[in-house]
Amino acid sequence: MLQFSVKRLFRGVLVILLVTFLVVVLLSLAPGSAASVILGENANPAEVARLEHEMGLDRSVFVQWLSWLGSAATGDLGTSPVTYQPVTTAILERLPVTLEIAFLALLIALVISIPLATIAARRPDSGVDRGINGLTSIFLAIPAFVAAPVLVYFLAVEARVFPVIGWDPLSEGLVANLRTAFLPALCVALIEVAAFQRILRADLGTTLREEYVEAARAKGMTARYVLWRHAFRPSSFSLLTVAGISLGRLIGGTIIVETFFSLPGIGQLVAGAISSRDIVMVQGVVAFVAVAYVLVNTLIDVGYGMLDPRVRVAAAR
């Protein structure tokens, strides 16, 4: 198990190194720099070049990355040359917002998709099954940038149940906080609903055809008992995997809703940093998200073992 964990850790570190290096490469390939953003459209090339030199942006990509890596290894993710904010502070300030949106979105997606999947699995190929499939197809086809204005229109502007924009932290009270968090979370949850429902529906369908399930039925157990007690747990591996991957993606993928709803989260931070070519900030955020992603995926691997004894046995061999 220790060997397994070390291997996973090594792979994770490699991923983080690669990802942060690619960030520097990609941003250096993009036209414009933090210096040109600071000086604006009327600066002449000589002025921009001088400021780029002062900011160290004229160094080679590799040297810039190594310099960042040296600091990051000591726990210092650097200071933004654009906003002068320490990167770690900026991330930690915004992390609770993004984490809450991501977890809430995941929760919403699971709460909606699990009942839909089980209902559909109990009546395979029926009208209900096809109807649910159609509904989730619609969810799948609606990106967050479309879902956001539509949901805002119906639930905020017309019904006035939720605010149009803004964020109330938990310190303002749970209800106030959830009112500001729900719509953004729902926007990003819709696509996940479709994915989760389909995966669970397919796995449940397979499990329900297993012999041990037939045996349970033959013993006179109710369909509901068999479904939840015997079929649901072994069918939830894929769902768990995808949910974990989704969480990592959601942490780094809330840019659109955070911008649309004026939420002070990681998504807005990285969007602003990219549009000001703030390499230091982007690198810090990406490294952070990569670490979160790797950790979540490692936890999922461990979770497999907990859910299914066969995995534990395989790992022991």
């Binding site: 009327n42 002025e47 400021l51 200071t79 605010p163 000001s276």
Partner: protein, 519 residues
């Protein structure tokens, strides 16, 4: 309304480029100010600003309503404010005068002025702030006004200074730039991070908290000079650049006021019973034609494109025909208005010019550089669609994000690029944008006749002399075809009926010390 919501998120890059002007002729619609009685003390308002500043250092902020004016005005106040119809109202300053037609100046500050930490404000603080602006790490558009400064000599509350050339309208350069904002120099010396955490100015509000990309909460500065202002106890500024979201937020009372940039949103707000406050500007939203590079280094190519494009088509395609297509460089209410119509749509003349250039082996082929905002892209595509109807002209649309577009502008490698020049008082914006050799003359225009007219407008001693000079500017401008001005600016403040004291000055700047609420 749902359709409006579905429109893509409107960015601010273009608008921030656009709002380079000074203001007069503010107009209000649906305002309840007249019936509201005297201003009430207390209460709080949430106002949506288009974007938040990257730092609170005044020299890094842009002093216009589309960008950072609300923050700057709140924390640092204003030295002076331009008045509707001309002249200046004094804020932190008591007077600003010249005795020799604009070379030597004397600025006097009010007695008893204090920063929000209780320490006195004097002329040395103004000198320190102004000298900081004129530094290479400051954006040229911010340091253009300060670049003229020489021999700053503070003595108590009086600062005397000299300009590198006589500029009688120099007060307007102060009003329109971050020179109008004075921060405590010692606080600035503590470094940007420390200053952002605890900025010190002499404005109507002090910073209570700032969650970046989120609310900036400002509390009343009890030592503000202009009592009983500010009226509000608290002002919360929240960034959101999507004007559809701004409208929805104000309609649903999620916010009390916000900024819109299009006539269609403004009209929708009025229909929904909100009050709107706007300003009249000359100039407009435009395309810069780079006179340094082919094909627009040939005046015929510029004329051909301007004659080929029907600006009403752009109006219809981008703002449902609710915008205004400018007919003259100076709008009709401007003291500098002259009846010199902007180049009109003339397809026959355009085709003739395209053919002529093609026959000479110089077919017109160019790229339109657009920002990523939906309005910017839509406008570029509207121009492209119209030019497709002509022979001997090919057009590509190049969509770049803000840093890439900024870099392209700085490198002067664009051919036709989205931008804007808006002004009521043409000084200094028009001079800086069109006079040869000026840093803000991104199109590289260099015409001695236009330069002479701009210089006469800058130095004119009487209103009549200036009016004549700008009539010459407008006439010559129309012969040079440097910009395709397609829409008048439609900047407006949208606010609920409980919001009062919405006053704009200079570059559509909201005076936050005047705001009050009847809620």
């Amino acid at each position: 309304m749902l359709a409006k919501h579905l429109r893509a998120i409107t960015g601010l890059a273009l608008v921030s480029v656009l709002l380079v002007a000074c203001g007069s002729g503010a107009s209000e619609s649906g305002s309840g100010d007249a019936d509201a009685g005297p201003p009430r003390q207390g209460g709080s308002l949430t106002v949506l600003q288009s974007t938040e500043p990257r730092t609170l250092d005044p020299r890094t902020m842009q002093n216009n309503g589309a960008v950072n004016a609300m923050v700057g005005n709140s924390l640092f106040g204003q030295l002076l404010i331009d008045k509707t119809g001309g002249g200046y109202e004094y804020g932190l300053a008591e007077s600003l005068s010249t005795t020799d037609g604009g070379t030597n100046w004397t600025l006097k500050l009010r007695d008893g002025l204090v920063f929000s930490d209780g320490t006195p404000v004097d002329a040395a603080d103004v000198k320190a702030n102004w000298e900081r602006i004129n530094a290479p790490q400051v954006a040229p558009r911010n340091r253009a006004a300060a670049a003229h400064l020489k021999n700053l000599a503070p003595a108590g509350q009086t600062l005397t200074f000299t300009l590198s050339e006589p500029i009688p309208q120099y007060p307007n350069s102060i009003v329109e730039s971050s020179m109008n904002w004075i921060a405590k120099p010692e606080a600035l010396q503590a470094g940007p991070a420390a200053f952002d955490a605890a900025p010190i100015g002499a404005g109507p509000f002090v910073l209570e908290s700032w969650r970046r990309n989120g609310p900036m909460v400002l509390a009343k500065n009890n030592s503000y000079y202009d009592k009983p202002r500010p009226y509000l106890d608290k002002l919360t500024l929240l960034p959101n650049g999507d004007e559809n979201q701004v409208l929805s937020a104000v309609l649903t009372k999620t916010a009390d006021a916000g900024i819109a940039f299009s006539a269609s949103i403004m009209k929708q707000a009025q229909d929904e019973g909100l009050q709107t406050t706007t300003q009249d500007f000359s100039g407009g939203r435009l395309y810069n034609l780079n006179t340094r590079l082919a094909p627009f280094n040939d005046v015929r190519a510029r004329e051909a494109v301007l004659r080929a494009v029907d600006r009403e088509f752009i109006n219809a395609s981008t703002v449902d025909g609710k915008g205004t297509v400018p007919q003259t460089l100076f709008h009709k209410g401007s003291p500098f208005y002259s009846d010199a119509p902007l180049p009109q749509h003339d397809p026959a003349r355009a085709q003739q010019l395209f053919d002529q250039l093609a026959a000479e082996g110089k077919p017109v082929s160019f790229s339109i550089t657009s920002y990523t905002t939906s309005v910017s892209v839509k406008t570029a595509e509207a121009v492209q669609a119209q030019l497709r109807k002509f022979k001997n002209v090919t057009v590509q649309v190049e969509v770049l994000d803000f840093p890439a577009a900024t870099a392209k502008s700085a490198q002067q490698t664009f051919q036709m690029m989205a931008g804007g020049v808006l002004f009521s008082e043409p000084e200094p914006q028009l001079y800086e944008a069109l006079h040869s050799g000026e840093a803000n003359n991104t199109i590289g225009l260099g015409d001695p006749q236009l330069d002479a007219a701009l210089e006469a407008g800058r130095r004119g001693a009487t209103p009549e002399q200036r009016k004549q000079a700008y009539a010459d500017v407008a006439k010559r401008y129309n012969e040079l075809y440097p910009w395709l001005i397609y829409l008048a600016p439609d900047y407006s403040i949208l606010a609920g009926q409980h919001v009062h004291g919405v006053k704009l000055y200079a570059q559509a700047n909201l005076r936050t010390d005047q705001l009050w609420t009847s809620k």
